[in-house]
Symmetry: D2
Subunit: 269 residues, 4 copies
Amino acid sequence: MNDSKSVKNLIGENDLVLVYLNEKRQFLVQITPHLKLSSDFGELILGDVIGKPYGYIGKTHLGREFYCLKPSTADLMMKVKRTTTIVYPKDTGYLLLETAIGPGSKVIEVGTGSGALTLVLAKFVAPDGMVYTYDRREEFIENAKKNIERAGYINNVEFFCHDVAEQEFLQKGVDAIFIDVPEPWTIIPKAAKVLKGGHHMVSWSPNVEQVKSTVDALQNNGFIRIKVSEIVEREMLVRQQGVRPRERGVTHTAYLVTSQKILGSGFEI
Amino acid sequence: MNDSKSVKNLIGENDLVLVYLNEKRQFLVQITPHLKLSSDFGELILGDVIGKPYGYIGKTHLGREFYCLKPSTADLMMKVKRTTTIVYPKDTGYLLLETAIGPGSKVIEVGTGSGALTLVLAKFVAPDGMVYTYDRREEFIENAKKNIERAGYINNVEFFCHDVAEQEFLQKGVDAIFIDVPEPWTIIPKAAKVLKGGHHMVSWSPNVEQVKSTVDALQNNGFIRIKVSEIVEREMLVRQQGVRPRERGVTHTAYLVTSQKILGSGFEI
Amino acid sequence: MNDSKSVKNLIGENDLVLVYLNEKRQFLVQITPHLKLSSDFGELILGDVIGKPYGYIGKTHLGREFYCLKPSTADLMMKVKRTTTIVYPKDTGYLLLETAIGPGSKVIEVGTGSGALTLVLAKFVAPDGMVYTYDRREEFIENAKKNIERAGYINNVEFFCHDVAEQEFLQKGVDAIFIDVPEPWTIIPKAAKVLKGGHHMVSWSPNVEQVKSTVDALQNNGFIRIKVSEIVEREMLVRQQGVRPRERGVTHTAYLVTSQKILGSGFEI
Amino acid sequence: MNDSKSVKNLIGENDLVLVYLNEKRQFLVQITPHLKLSSDFGELILGDVIGKPYGYIGKTHLGREFYCLKPSTADLMMKVKRTTTIVYPKDTGYLLLETAIGPGSKVIEVGTGSGALTLVLAKFVAPDGMVYTYDRREEFIENAKKNIERAGYINNVEFFCHDVAEQEFLQKGVDAIFIDVPEPWTIIPKAAKVLKGGHHMVSWSPNVEQVKSTVDALQNNGFIRIKVSEIVEREMLVRQQGVRPRERGVTHTAYLVTSQKILGSGFEI
């Protein structure tokens, strides 16, 4: 059991902190000794929060309070430097639980993109698991690498700048495969060969036609228990003047496809 | 990198297998040497699948195929023996990512219930983290313990048969607190004392009034960045005859509340 | 301005009354002098309510109260004798307002079905307008005719037992066309010829593929401002113990397509 | 039956035309002899469309096509000059069908606002029915009057600049009452006295608390069959590159309350 002495909750050098002034002014910041941040609420001397606990309340030079919060996994995703559209936390949480992965798992991701999903997978297969992530665009991998390094999960990721349409996967017997490319059906036959039997292949796409082609490819490559879902997040505003859903917002991100591989001709693992 | 020799994908004694005949006939089974299962599709000799790989296709004595699949985390949740309503995977995935927890975290759960959430938390704080779960009903804890033991995460859970309305929490400085009781607002002041500053308190409730009282209590106990959301899962049926959303289904489970603690009078951690 | 003398609110012979005992026991009844109804709440002597006002509270012979309510247009739709799936009030209300029709309009409906939509259209084009409704199945028309006669709108409907795939429409210059058949795209070229320029063609279908083919046909036949929507009704339960959305329910009925015709080669009206 | 000679589809002086250039450039215009309209697509000489049929394709002086379309009822609502938030067509269509009103009905509306609902009610009770609309703000009534006059339904509306919180309704025995004020529960006792027995009272509000107070007041004033719903419109984009729901949009307008009056102490009509 914990006791108060062993609780480590102090902000250290290079830690990620969610600096929160209000809903419209929140920043994910990596703390360094002399860091300052400027906002219209005044200057924040962030170097000074080293050694303070998370939850600390600081003040800008104009006297506005700011809060040093622990970033959630969703914050880490949403605040990556983006070179692409990212998969949303609402969808990621669902997909994560629809597979069997956890600490120690080996996972392939196709379509590194900005690395938002990569870092979540890396976090949840740590300390001993590994994410093998593929993208054919060198500049995307460079950016994703920085995003994941900053989040602290670089040791659980291997990057491959391969076009999987042209080359084979370099792993065999992985616990799950996550596909985030515009044409998942072109990847599925190859991916099926390196996924463990009985395990999970997941993908997501914005359009109905993509989902249909993906489902076809899954059915033709020995996958069963294929399910397609949409996850809609609906925020409720809880205020003194009354409770109601938010009036405008995101109404669609992607259709999510989950499936499991069965063994048969051509699949021995 | 993996090579095919090191891939371990064989079903062993006591492993959990999702035995799948079709959408309406799927069972989460712990495999033992002489296990048989009877269904209207015939008898399944499940002892025989020991040593076979996941993804294996067996046959009932009536010649119907069955598939030995790896259960997803969502399967483990949905197939616990239930003494209570459980939180759904769609909501759990969202809540998990809205906190900072991962391998190594210390988490308090209030309201063990059937242990569906407990096992997910245990899985994702493993191998070094710990879930401290509280329930005042002995029989619920007994059932939950069995569910979590079967799922293989018992080493990452400590159970407390306490009424937290009457006793203090026995941990200090935890990374997140998950509250699943009908009146979360009665727990929040105590819970606030043992949560690390800057970290996450989450709860969920079916009714608007509960959410309102919870938000009030959070605001009065030093929490900020309070957000209330609903997660709606909408299944799409992708079939030869056409693609469309499922015509009937679940339309509400719970409103989800997330928040973060700031330090101040009375909260030193 | 009304005065109380001129208010006519008495139930007459042949009037339709919604007899309401509770949520699960409500019946749309045409009142006749000696009518009795039996339910597990006792016998209702409905002949006796002639001359009573709407809103009247009667009692069964077991002493349970029943209420004589005015049926809404939605009640008239939902309580037709059904030979087919019907279009829901939530969808009908939307479609009605997405056209320009009102008292005096001439409207074509293709696919009479059970006549649920027919009676709504007839009601809202009365007293001088007309609905021309087509179905190739004699028995459907017979049933729909009875449904509309009972609802009191028979004078505003003309029925045609034609297969519009094989025969031309017998009207020209109608104000709107409502298409409720499995393959709307087969009807659209013919329908386009008899719809007034600038006016509205609407259809609805459960599947995405149907909607896509319909939109294609509209684009190829001189229609613009094509819009596809889904209308989701979400019931809120407002009870002493709390307010929340209903937990299970209808999650999909149909995609609704609206469009307007422009003039051009081949369309002179 | 119609024949082509009797079809009247020509645009006349003072007619309302929806002038459509593209999705972002559409205008509801009342046509007058020398009317010109300027847009970034060029000048439109709208006086020239008098005598042309609806569906006519004109050209701007820059050669861009514009279409002269028949405005739908929803267009008439959405394009009123607004002094207030208006009720949306998706909600209006639902509410209209949840009452019994049609040609010839007498209806009270409380909260004229911009007159968007007033004109829909007026349209569907025409030619012999009447809408009695109340607002305590003179300037709102003046604006609404112009909106309804332009739409052509002024003969079916009587306006009352009364504060119904302080004065009685001037009608008795109406077929339905529509309440669009922030505190419907303050109006309900008075409104109940002038509504026909068995008939419909409807209201709508953005917040849960408002709905709860409204439902309480309805229960305390002899109303049954109280139902609360939300209507969510979800647009699907059907394009060459794929079909998907629109990515951002309206996520909440109002909760809709419908109910029916029963007779009893104090209510004789």
